[in-house]
Symmetry: C2
């Protein structure tokens, strides 16, 4: 295995930029992944691993994980501790990193007409985004739809998702409107989650058939356009002086209700 000891190696500089830049990720169709378990999960899930980087320590400490990764990656490098530190986003780097291909975007979005979905519009906080991926997978919904600013390949979002965003059916779209149109043509219900106690109590909504429940941005909620397009406005009823939930807490409760 070739060894990289210089922090200014071109491959290392590219990996760092890939972690930092959403536009580079989009342009290259690649993303950067850190962590023994997460890289192992990606390999197992069938994500294409283009390059992998391991410290000598990681190769014995995470032997089984590293074995799986190297078997599925043609271009593996040993890296020095200083290089690992440069690549890492965390204080205690495990010394396992990969550059992966994004899952190919399907030409045509497909929805299960009886499926249950959460759709996120412009969620800003990558930790929230990752937490929602985790909830949606754990609760067993049919998939997650993300639009606009939701970047599931952001390193913080990937870490918070603990592999769920790589395993799950995630539909990335520019415009939620098209998906909602498709859902309506399939006879699905579309719900707009709003923090207004005048909307329909989520517990009173029938969840028969297919349902997409839309959750908005942390600060501003859903756009007027999306609210207007959905068949119903729903609320998680709130007590006290609370005015809203954290977006990932709201999404968890809504996903839970979708599967009730």
């Amino acid at each position: 295995m070739e060894k990289i000891t210089s922090r200014s190696n071109e491959k290392i500089k590219y990996a760092v930029r890939l972690g930092e830049s959403a536009s580079l990720r989009k342009e290259a169709g690649e993303f950067f992944l850190e962590g023994a378990r997460l890289c192992f999960d990606a390999a197992q899930t069938g994500i294409e691993i283009k390059q992998a980087f391991f410290t000598a320590k990681a190769m014995w400490k995470y032997e089984d994980y590293v074995k799986e990764i190297t078997e599925r990656c043609a271009e593996c490098y040993e890296i020095g501790a200083e290089v690992s530190q440069k690549l890492s986003d965390t204080e205690n780097a495990q010394g396992v990193f990969c550059i992966c291909s994004m899952k190919p975007k399907s030409e045509k979005v497909s929805l299960n007409p009886n499926g249950k979905y959460i759709a996120l519009e412009n969620l800003q906080d990558p930790s929230n985004l990752g937490a929602v991926c985790r909830s949606v997978e754990a609760i067993g919904l049919d998939g997650l739809i993300v639009s606009g600013g939701c970047d599931i390949y952001n390193p913080k979002a990937l870490r918070a998702a603990m592999g769920s965003s790589l395993r799950m059916d995630v539909t990335v779209c520019d415009d939620l409107g098209e998906i909602l149109d498709l859902a309506h043509s399939l006879g699905m219900q579309t719900l707009a989650s709003v923090p207004k106690n005048t909307a329909t109590d989520i517990r009173r909504v029938s969840m028969e058939g297919g349902v997409i429940c839309c959750v908005g941005n942390e600060g501003n909620g859903l756009s007027e356009k999306t609210i207007g397009q959905c068949t119903k406005q729903v609320v998680i009823p709130m007590s006290g002086r609370a005015e809203s939930f954290n977006a990932s807490a709201a999404a968890a409760i809504l996903a839970w209700e979708l599967k009730r």
Copy 2:
């Protein structure tokens, strides 16, 4: 109003340290709060505000909030923009800051024997902690119990809680064991949330009477001691290859089920 223009002013240096150091907060019985709405909420809730700091811009931009704060605080200072930047934890500081007294710890913990509570053990991430406070208030539980490393006065936790931790009944304790003993003596049910599909499905637990549901640390879950002390182990059933929920998502679903 006296004006502070030097970033090395002793009051400013103290405020910064108070935001950074959990041990100083504990020793002084004071905490540092940032943000126009949050400081206003604290004032309205009856939290004692010992000192307040405003930029000139904030005094007109957040006039109503600042008025409420100054009416309840004897020691107000105008600060320059550079001082505001030093005090702030965010990129776009609003220019409103307070030093507040922690709520006095009650000598004796009191529980409503028919109340519903979430208890958090050693939650590490302040954003998770704040999000749980917000969920618990919005869902309308009777209170939140936090033990060990949960620092509700951490600035990130305060921001994520959006005022809920100041408004709500939060019991801070060193040892969850004493609270669980008290709960049992009052005939309350105590639930240990564990990520094991062999535990009792949370949907099958009767929520009659008083219930405390314990949620553990992000990485390690609840301690063996706490699990052993609770009357029942419960789980939010999980599908797919997910192994657990984000702690604040789990707490949101559990709080929601407590009030079902």
